[in-house]
């Protein structure tokens, strides 16, 4: 094993550690939402600092790799992809924090009918599934698995498109439901953004291994 291989392996370990933390942030945000667990929501917000510091460390490691090893070809693509995946993961961390802030801004638990009407559970199921899939694609360098993400992300986009109508229907003529409805709509928008970030990560995995650019197509 040559030296750069050891550095790239270490970079992959750091990225995976950040990935697992961000994944748990998303899962905890979901539990906090459905169980109205406000302590758990506060924990997610507190953990965001750890996500940020991991992002800075990975950025710095990539910078060192560029400066000290002058990576080319697949090594170069790996470092470039890691830099972008790092940014995407940090944004997912921000979104998990944002969801928890919405939970805490409500004085009481979200109405069960709202949870049902908004299809939030279906959304969350997809988010958690594709986060795990894209992590496995990253670890196993499996671009075929990475490609399955795009189709699944469309489910999130569809639910998001329906969300305004679903929540408007839920609010109906009850102005007392407006604030909770709007807060919830923001959560849905954030989950849809998580899907976009995961899609970006899948694109980076494909770029890294196949040198194919899938962006803006």
């Amino acid at each position: 094993m040559i030296h750069i291989d050891r550095e790239l392996e270490q970079l992959k370990k750091s990225t995976t550690a950040m990935w697992v933390l961000v994944q748990s942030q998303i899962e905890k945000a979901y539990k906090a939402l459905t169980a109205n667990d406000r302590d758990l929501a506060r924990e997610v917000i507190a953990n965001e600092k750890r996500v940020n510091s991991m992002e800075l460390k990975i950025d710095s490691d990539c910078e060192d790799l560029f400066a000290l090893y002058s990576p080319v070809a697949s090594d170069l693509r790996t470092v470039l992809a890691t830099l972008k995946i790092n940014t995407n993961l940090e944004r997912i961390g921000d979104l998990a924090e944002g969801i928890c802030k919405h939970i805490l801004s409500e004085e009481k638990a979200f109405d069960k009918d709202l949870l049902k009407a908004s299809e939030i559970q279906e959304m969350y199921d997809v988010v958690i599934e594709i986060m795990e899939d894209v992590l496995q694609a990253y670890l196993k360098e499996d671009t075929k698995l990475a490609r399955t993400i795009f189709k699944k992300d469309e489910i999130l986009n569809e639910i998001n498109m329906q969300a305004t109508k679903n929540i408007t229907d839920y609010i109906g003529s009850d102005i007392g439901k407006i604030e909770a409805g709007l807060n919830f709509l923001s959560i849905i928008r954030k989950l849809e953004r998580v899907g976009d970030q995961i899609t970006n990560i899948a694109e980076e995995i494909i770029f890294s291994h196949e040198a194919k650019v899938l962006k803006h197509l």
Partner: protein, 264 residues
Amino acid sequence: MVQKNKSVKKELNPEYKLESRNLNLFYGPKQALRDVSIKMSANTVTAFIGPSGCGKSTFLRCFNRMNDLIEGVRIEGDVLIDNVDIYKNEIDVYEYRKKVGMVFQKPNPFPKSIFENVAFGLRINGEKSKSYIEDTVEDALKQAALWNEVKDSLYKSAMAISGGQQQRLCIARAIAVKPSVLLMDEPASALDPLSTTKIEELIHTLKDNFTIVIVTHNMQQAARISDKTAYFYMGELIEYDLTEKIFTNPSRIETENYITGRFG
């Protein structure tokens, strides 16, 4: 979802200056080059890379027939400059070598003054005009980015200037006789980083007037200065493509392994 391959595009001069067709070269029983075919555009920089003994320097020397001087060498195939086969019998080798300047790994100035080093080629070509020689020496030293450093000491010994300056002097000497091709065999490998940068900058500016071929062991140097890169291994041309392509997404796994340092 549609996908596209990472594309690298670059417009190069459509005229080919240097070419080889099915070139085989033998040192006695040992085959050093195997069926090498390549076309190099005018006014471009081409880098030859590959491990020691891969044949890249041998191939470079084919373009000024320097291998002719080695005993037991046998060459098959064609080597063309400006579409003329330079190995054809009727070719005047000395005339053709004027078209091709060469710079070596170690600076090799003559033990003469700076001025006489640059004027040397002109004088042996029979140039008598003092003013022409003076103007040409000044032009060549300017082109080699050395003029400002030596203009007040032109009659000082060339052996007294630094290694980096000596190498630029050798480039000035090579271009004074107005060749159209410059062959460089690891021209910066014996120089410090600052002198290396100067040589690389010089190569960038010289390609407006010359077709340059450079052999280098320094991957980053090949990446920085060349338009196209050719990877050689065991006498074969494995891959030849735009430098951006070679260093971001080479087509051959052998090239990838070599440039990323995983070769062997």
